[in-house]
């Protein structure tokens, strides 16, 4: 009796665990009739707003240099240079994990991916909190950098293909909304983190660890709500009144390319370079905007005004993600990137001139437009990939493409910092020390323009056939 009961209990527990796991399956996320597709963007935003916290991680840097000294840094406290690696490791693993887990995300569906991202994101914060308590930096490298970086990669690509499938009429706008959330996450995270630290802060203790724990809990709940809401459309579903264009469009395929076959196409690598160069140009100035504004306009832009300028740039980074991706639905992806490259080239060439004539307004306007196109580059690329490689593996292909971001994250800041340093050491006045960098950025965009120009439709031999055995798993999963 007792053995039977035990076996029964065990069976019930296993059944329960299985039902929880099956809840995450793609087959359990297929939308029933009557489900509104407008529920999916908020689900995607639940994840992207949370992982967008990464852009606000710098608010912890200064407090973490005073964990022992409390009021000021002591020799045993962590240095800013050591702490700077946390963000770099996280962004590196964003690119790596999105490339490695892209196919897993695509085939398992958005709910499983969002759940995994929520676990890793919250887990990363909890491990980092232990790292702060124990004053062990490598635990934060592993927690926020490695595990959090994996959450960033999986979370970033998790809703992309789902949104494209729900909005075949406006794929740019749909992915723009989600990726806008990644840019906007910092607006919530920065004030929330500062407020939490002020609540946990005492005369003998800086409340970074407690803030990490609270953030981990809040983000887990927020992301899980997204995972519960998200649905994939039923096979063959189309929006009411939508008829796919009958006339074939040269740069919008109706076929699918297998994820790893995409790597064999020149189109993938051309778009990879387009993204890499566009991001390199933007990310370098984004990180140095405050110092650059003050050094180019000494006496005109104060540190407080420069901080305001950085905030404004973040807003344009976020707004550009929605604006440019939505615009690409009307003017086409290739043309949108042409705008980025041509307008970016003109604006980068104009920046030294605005410094020479002392036009703060011209400088600010130029950089706000540049940074909107930096954000736009991220949000338009999923729809560009969908046009080139079809919808089936677009999330996984997007994951592979994000390695361009990791590369740009290294090159952009290095270009700006080292060229400025070189110029200053060779007697160039600080106000003109960025001029060479601006012309180099403009040059990078010329290369990006050529790469974009060379993008043509993918050759037929790369398209998946109806009886392609590699499609079997996905089709079974969808069914």
């Amino acid at each position: 009796m007792s053995a039977n009961t035990k076996n029964g209990d065990q069976g019930t527990k296993e059944d329960g665990a299985m039902s929880v796991l099956s809840f995450l399956d793609r087959s359990h996320t297929v939308a029933k009739p009557g489900f509104s597709r407008w529920m999916v963007p908020p689900a995607a935003l639940c994840v992207h707003l949370c992982i967008g916290q990464a852009y606000a991680f710098s608010v912890f840097n200064l407090p973490m240099t005073k964990l022992i000294g409390i009021t000021q840094s002591t020799p045993n406290d962590w240095k800013l240079t050591e702490l700077g690696w946390i963000f770099s490791i996280a962004i590196f693993f964003l690119g790596v994990s999105s490339a490695v887990f892209g196919r897993w995300v695509e085939e398992g569906g958005p709910r499983r991916a969002m759940f995994t991202a929520a676990l890793c994101w919250a887990g990363g914060f909890f491990i980092s909190a232990i790292g702060v308590y124990a004053h062990t930096l490598w635990l934060i490298y592993i927690g926020y950098g490695f595990i959090g970086g994996i959450a960033l990669g999986i979370g970033y690509i998790s809703p992309v293909s789902t949104l494209i499938k729900w909005f075949p009429d406006r794929p740019g706008m749909a992915t723009g909304m989600a990726i806008m959330g990644f840019g906007g996450g910092a607006f919530i995270a920065a004030p929330l983190s500062v407020w939490l630290m002020s609540k946990f802060n005492t005369a003998t203790h800086i409340g970074v660890a407690e803030t990490f724990i609270v953030l981990g809990c809040v983000y887990f709940v927020f992301m899980m709500i997204g995972a519960i809401i998200v649905r994939v459309p039923a096979p063959g579903w189309k929006p009411a009144g939508y008829t796919p264009p009958v006339q074939a469009q040269k740069l919008i395929t109706k076929n699918d390319v297998f994820v790893y076959d995409a790597l064999k196409t020149p189109q993938f690598w051309l778009i990879w370079w387009v993204l890499c160069l566009n991001v390199t140009a933007g990310i370098g100035v984004l990180g140095q905007a405050s110092a650059m504004a003050q050094e180019m306009f000494p006496g005109h832009i104060t540190p407080v005004a420069a901080a305001g300028f950085v905030g404004l740039m973040s807003l344009f980074n976020m707004g550009g993600r929605f604006f440019w991706a939505s615009t690409s639905d009307y003017i086409g992806r290739k043309n949108t990137y042409f705008v980025f490259m041509v307008l970016g080239f003109v604006l980068y060439c104009l920046v030294p001139y605005t410094g020479a004539v002392g036009s703060v307004a011209g400088f600010v306007c130029a950089f706000l437009i540049i940074i909107s196109m930096y954000g736009g580059g991220f949000s338009t690329v999923p729809a560009y990939l969908k046009d080139m490689f079809g919808t089936r593996y677009v999330g996984a292909i997007h994951g592979l493409l994000l390695t361009a971001w990791s590369m740009a994250g290294i090159f952009g800041p290095v270009l700006v910092n080292y060229i400025r340093q070189y110029n200053v050491e060779h007697g160039v006045p600080k106000a003109q020390a960025y001029n060479t960098t601006m012309y180099i950025m403009a040059g990078l965009l010329v290369i990006g323009f050529i790469c974009n120009l060379l993008v043509k439709a993918v050759a037929d031999r790369y398209h998946m056939k109806a009886n392609d055995p590699r499609a079997h798993d996905t089709v079974a999963a969808r069914a």
Binding site: G34, A43, L49, G181, A186, F187, V304, G308, L315, M318
Partner: protein
């Protein structure tokens, strides 16, 4: 059957709640950033 389908459909309240859940924190954050950004023009 029709009743079951209606029960599965998304209501306006669900849409408002979902968008409000993500929209309100985002708008508050954007407003806070805008207030700080105004220092650029002072």
């Amino acid at each position: 059957m029709a009743t079951a389908k209606q029960a599965e459909g998304t209501t306006t309240i669900q849409l408002v709640l979902a968008w409000g859940f993500v929209g309100i924190p985002l708008v508050l954050g954007v407003l806070q950033t805008l207030i700080n950004a105004m220092k650029l023009f002072q």
